[in-house]
């Protein structure tokens, strides 16, 4: 246990620069979005923006179009903007494939030549991925509230704390889900580029599947296969409660990925 804690500390130390930099960038993005939303609100530009929306975007947003074209909607955008989701998922994949990287460079040989059980390697990685994901989202939420206090025009309606927290929790579960998938792939692989690339491609493919299904009815029948289907921010910003089913499904994928990682890593040969 002590050795596992030491390994965790060492891993956290190694990724601290990446984590802090990404976290600060994501928090800064929230500030920028709120600043921009405030400027649009002050200039009365939301009505004009709404009329400029192309039909496909209206179809994609559905009933959320009215909320999205508001100060509150732009503030929430920070939780489902493509770059934000991409950064969080990329970070989760990077952390989840730490054991693969250690196998690839040979460091795993030195670690496992000690009296340390293999399951600690995976446990360490799960805890690391969960903690870092939570830290990222905490920084984003902090960025949102700091931004609202600094840049929100007077009298404008703020998004509720429940809405922000729901978006953050759902996004966090989506991030963990991809962490689990990447960990399972990485546990069976000896190349981080292969594991990370496969997880990244899978994320992209399922994101596109979900996106296409929202615009093209025939794709709807298989859209349930995409984890992105279970993160529906537009539902949340129109006032619907966070569906626990979505959280459960994303959590189940993550847990399945972690479990697969335990089994695969325990059984595999450690060779480069």
């Amino acid at each position: 246990m002590r050795a596992a804690a030491l390994l965790f500390t060492y891993s956290l130390k190694r990724v601290r620069t990446l984590v802090i930099t990404t976290g600060l960038l994501l928090a800064a993005l929230q500030l920028v979005l709120i600043f921009v939303a405030g400027a649009i609100q002050t200039s009365g530009g939301f009505e004009q923006l709404s009329s400029l929306l192309p039909p496909f975007a209206r179809q994609l947003l559905g009933p959320a179009v009215v909320t999205m074209m508001s100060f509150s909607g732009i503030v929430c955008l920070g939780y489902f903007e493509l770059a934000v989701m991409g950064a969080l998922i990329a970070l989760a994949v990077t952390l989840a494939t730490v054991p693969t990287s250690e196998v690839e460079i040979g460091f795993m040989d030195l670690i496992l030549a000690r009296p340390l059980a293999r399951h600690w390697i995976i446990t360490r990685t799960i805890v690391l991925t969960m903690l870092v994901s939570a830290f990222m989202l905490a920084l984003m939420v902090a960025g949102t509230w700091i931004g609202l206090r600094m840049f929100a025009p007077k009298g404008v309606l703020w998004p509720s704390a429940t809405l922000i927290n729901s978006l953050a929790v759902n996004l966090g579960m989506l991030t963990l889900c991809w962490g689990g998938v990447a960990m399972a792939i990485g546990a069976a692989s000896s190349r981080r580029s292969v594991a990370g690339g496969a997880a990244g491609l899978l994320a992209l493919a399922t994101f596109l599947l979900d996106y296409i299904a929202r615009l093209w009815q025939p794709a709807e029948s298989i859209a349930w296969l995409s984890p992105f289907r279970y993160y529906n921010p537009f539902d949340l910003i129109t006032g619907n409660a966070l569906p626990l089913k979505n959280l459960f499904i994303l959590g189940a994928i993550a847990v399945a990925g972690f479990a697969a990682a335990y089994v695969l890593f325990a059984r595999r040969d450690i060779s480069r």
Binding site: A3, L6, I105, M108, I270
Partner: protein, 299 residues
Amino acid sequence: MAPISICGLTKQYGNVRAVNNLNLDVIQGEILGFLGLNGAGKTTTIRILLDLLRPSSGNAFILGHDCQSDGLQARLNIGYLPGEMGIYSDLTGREVLDLLAGLNGRAVKVSRRRDLQERLEFPESDLSRRLREYSTGMKRKLGLIQAFQSDPTLLILDEPTEGLDPLMQESFYKLLVDVKQRGRTVFMSSHVLSEVDRVCDRIALIRKGELVLLSGIEELRKLAARPVRVLFAEDVPIAAGLPPGNEVVETGPRAWNLKVEGPLGPLLRSIATLPVRDIEIAEAKLEDVILKYYRDGAE
């Protein structure tokens, strides 16, 4: 209880048998040289001992503990030096040593680490540098320090002197003598036959995954053909009936160069009537025997 006991160990990759029905016992307190050509199965065997690879069949035990089913206990008292030190280059030497010492679960004495640093000429200032600034030799020295620092009962070393300069090799040999004197056991793979000859008590030679030779160094030396030079007072044609085990390497003016396996008596008797002026007998070379085993495998 044997520090290492290997019973019928086999590791198969598809159609290739990297290790084939290997049986080997390492004796407490000895230095065993584990020899073989590239791809013979040395590293595979070592990796199975450390439970990095899982055997297709057979068992390996370290200090009585099964390396697979009781791996944690088996690895409790091991110092391991891999063939290549795979470490993140952004770590400092000290961070590497501290981390690996911590993972051992046993306290490392500061005095022990300092002693190793001194022996291997590895100053404190170098421990503060990042590994990306290290030369190959420095990384090797760091690898040796991490393997020896917890003073383990069993050392498993994969090509330990690879990348070390001759002076450091000398220091390493002295370190081996020291740990042996303190009753530790060393299991080391090597390509350097002179090194094996010098530091090992026994050798195990593996070829295509199979153990083909297990012998003490002294016994092995007796198997080696000794170079013998017979000098004559006048030109003597090579005798047709040299005793078996005597091979003519070359003949020169008033001299024969021979290789003699076994006792010298038959040769001395066969040349007793010739005008012998002198006989020069060199020490048998262990390398000759080992190379013969290597060559037999190549053929």
